[in-house]
Symmetry: C2
Subunit: 176 residues, 2 copies
């Protein structure tokens, strides 16, 4: 005797995303997700293998959102870097999750492609990959440390970000 579906995978991932951002990773329990979508915890296992798989899906959703934001920039390295940092500040838990969990490879590749294209425009194809990695690593580390409160020494964080961006852009646009 079939039963009508009372939830869906998309609804579960959306609930997971909202709970993650509101309560942090430890608040993202199977029971909390189930509560939010209106079923009991065991029912989630019909759509998701286990909690780790749910975290991966939430991480993938975060990368997809990041990709959307990068797509909406002007396509320069500076625009991309600023959008990247803005995402980290507005979605701190999603940002941290995507660094600690492996999101879907295609979603990751899509977001990476924007950085790669911007790097290619600036330095040419021979060094595009290395240049993209330089900028991505810097923006990732800057955002990670900013979220962790690791910049304890005094000084203006905006200034530090723009300083880094200016120096990186100049370093990449000067050949050799």
């Amino acid at each position: 005797m079939p039963t009508p579906d009372r939830t869906s995978l998309a609804q579960i991932v959306a609930a997971g995303t909202e709970i993650l951002e509101a309560e942090g990773p430890s608040g993202l329990t199977m029971r909390a997700v189930a509560d939010r979508v209106g079923v009991r915890a065991p029912s989630l296992y019909k759509r998701v293998r286990d909690r780790d798989a749910l975290l991966s899906l939430v991480a993938t959703a975060a990368v997809d959102e990041l990709g959307d934001r990068l797509a909406a920039t002007d396509g320069t390295l500076a625009g991309i870097a600023r959008a990247y940092r803005a995402f980290a500040r507005e979605r701190p838990e999603g940002f941290r999750l995507l660094l600690s969990t492996s999101p879907d490879a295609d979603s990751l590749a899509r977001a990476s492609a924007f950085v790669l294209r911007a790097a290619d425009d600036l330095v040419g194809s021979a060094e595009a990959l290395e240049a993209a990695r330089l900028v991505t690593a810097w923006a990732t580390g800057f955002s990670t440390m900013e979220l962790a409160g690791a910049f304890r020494l005094q000084g203006d964080l905006e200034k530090a970000f723009e300083f880094g961006l200016a120096r990186l852009t100049r370093a990449l646009s000067t050949p050799d």
Copy 2:
């Protein structure tokens, strides 16, 4: 009637560090730590407020070890960056923990001072802080992404690291 101490805070932190590196953060349970030091879990609460406090102590021990490694370099930005990455590769869980937990401020300041001094030698005191943040953010992001397996595109990671280091060093040694 006093009882002889059966463990110590140092022993608990050391056990936590070993378990973290061997089993990951989810394996670092109060019962696992208690087992390793030879007491029952409730006894740990005589020396540590709760599991979060223990994680902070383990994170601080990791920063201290990082500080020791930075102290053993030649003091150039390149030497420091390579030692930083080596630490992340050899102590991946400790490295991740120190980014997600706030370690002791003094320990963090000590490790930061080596980077700040190297930056000062290269760019002078006016821009030393920004330059140190640029290099630290890059090394942090590079290591984070390397550990996360986020560099999925083909290409040599050693080459990407040395490319980044060379460009950063050049960008910082050229004034303006």
